[in-house]
Subunit: 344 residues, 2 copies
């Protein structure tokens, strides 16, 4: 077969590229795998053939030229609600300014699914990866290191981590909010949280509540804990459970705003006045916190800045080895009407 | 260099695979590009080498075996809010049941960014693509056809489309809601919509409102239209603009629930009672519609079913040519308190 009878609808193969460039397939392979071992003239011929033929299935022309794909992967635990949306958008915008495309996978908070997605993104040629949280099987980081794929863990700050972390102190942020709650007279505290197993953000936040309680002399065992998946409906179901307990809480501290908004809606449905009968708090300060009725007291996380800094850290690492960026961002309390003084 | 001194931290190359398998790099290339041109024994040797060395950067063992990557790409207009989340989650779950990984890109409603992402996903080896909406430059579909990458367009139903569509009738769905609105006595209608240029879902919904008005004898020019980006804050800003016009609307029909929830929050801030002073409607029936205060009248879209059907249609097309699935899903009106009889 020669170029003349190349079917326009057929995907061009490596062999087609070799034929077009007038080189062997081995030379094309070498260009793809070790461009530095091929002289520039040959590399340019192959590059031209790749462009002309629209050779694409597994490499693109840019990757061929630079041995980079200009693709970054991110794996987030969920796309079902907006908690990662704003940070990820800022992450993507910063990548875009650097000519890099973002591909995202969503792991549904499942460790094995995340590992599968990491393998897929690496095998699809991602130049680097953004992961949410740091705590995971060390083998994952070993694999990425072996593959030469840099990784940044965001939404956490861990000074001892083996990879760069760009995030905030989940423990301290929630502890500050719990201290505020306790200072308003609340002692019957409940929390609705994501499963803490394998989720360092959730477990650190829970630890923050417990630390504030201990410091205030409230027994840790007094904390009612309900674990559920993040979701508006799930927050409502959990709230209902809490309210059928013998000792009802005066405040429900939720692991994020999505759970909190669901809890508030359910509380109203049950005839409770928020915050007169029950205070509710969130975490994240996403858009729904502001328009919640009543507006939600929460922890404000600088999502956009976090996404941008994570992108910068990761781009700096691509093509280099190591990288030890650790960026700690500040969170602030956002006090709104859903939290009130406890009076009974 | 021989296997003995392979640096464990170095990414294995095609040449390493060839050496390990005891074949030439050209044979490895042939295995990767035209496995059917290589005898089984050789293919198995190469496959074993790929596995042993953890050769991954651009191909994985499964792709080598089946010439498929078991990766599907999806490009959605935004991850910033939950409007695509539920459908996409169902899409991913159905792919997962078939051992296929989903990679998602978000185009921020930008045509050129979407085209870049399509090229990236194809060059990263996606077996197929999910796109939102059908209307785009025909060159995009030509490119995908040439590359042999099947595509399904969702969130729309278009019997004349050149590719399978899995979705609903945006025009009819919004027309039904507008008819309901008009039947309640509203004649001063406003709409807050996404930019309709290049967005067939938004333009069809707008056309639905206009058609219902025309049938009811209300001049099309009476419709106040504000175009904005989807977002809670953006819905609020648009509502404020509408309320400073000389002729105030009695109902604001929003292009989606996110805009509507923002419009309601702003209306309350302006001292308006919803629905006594102003009715507001949405589109999608995502979770926030139910917990909105007052709860939101909207169009219910079967997002989960749409995602699942789109995955099935796409999986059926991978490895085959053509495919002409067209699935029309039904939408229903979800009447809640944000819409009331107009009385003045």
């Amino acid at each position: 077969m020669n170029i003349g009878d190349t079917n326009k609808d057929r995907t061009p193969t490596l062999a087609d590229v070799a034929r077009f460039a007038g080189v062997s397939t081995a030379t094309v392979s070498r260009c793809l795998n070790s461009p530095d071992r091929v002289i520039e003239e040959t590399r340019n011929k192959v590059l031209k053939a790749v462009r002309e033929l629209g050779y694409a299935p597994n490499f693109n022309a840019r990757a061929l030229a630079a041995k980079r794909t200009n693709t970054i992967g991110a794996i987030i635990p969920t796309m079902e609600n907006a908690i990662f949306a704003r940070g990820l958008q800022a992450f993507q915008e910063e990548l875009g300014r650097n000519g890099t495309t973002l591909l995202v996978a969503s792991s549904s908070y499942q460790t094995d699914l995340e590992e599968e997605q990491i393998r897929t993104l690496v095998s699809r040629g991602a130049d680097g990866l953004l992961l949410i949280g740091y705590r995971r099987d060390p083998k994952v980081y070993e694999f990425l290191h072996r593959q030469g794929v840099p990784v940044v863990a965001a939404w956490v700050f861990d000074p001892d981590a083996d990879v760069p972390t760009v995030g905030f102190d989940n423990f301290l942020a929630m502890k500050m909010l719990a201290e505020k709650v306790i200072s308003l007279g609340h002692r019957r505290i409940a929390t609705i949280t994501a499963a803490t197993q394998g989720n360092d953000r959730a477990s650190e936040r829970l630890r923050g509540i417990l630390a504030a309680m201990t410091e205030a002399g409230i027994p840790e065992n007094d904390l009612s804990i309900i674990e559920t998946t993040y979701g508006i409906d799930e927050g409502g179901v959990a709230l209902e459970k809490l309210m059928t307990q013998q000792i009802r809480p005066s405040v429900v501290m939720c692991g994020n705003d999505v759970l909190a908004v669901g809890a508030i809606a359910k509380a109203k449905e049950l005839g409770l006045n928020v915050p007169a009968d029950l205070s509710v708090t969130g975490f994240d300060d996403i858009e729904i916190a502001k328009i919640s009725s009543p507006p939600l007291t929460t922890v404000h996380v600088p999502h956009r800045r976090m996404g941008k800094e994570a992108a910068r850290a990761l781009l700096n690492m691509v093509g280099t080895t190591g990288g030890r960026t650790k960026i700690l961002l500040e969170t602030t309390l956002q006090i709104r009407e859903s939290l009130a003084q406890h009076t009974d």
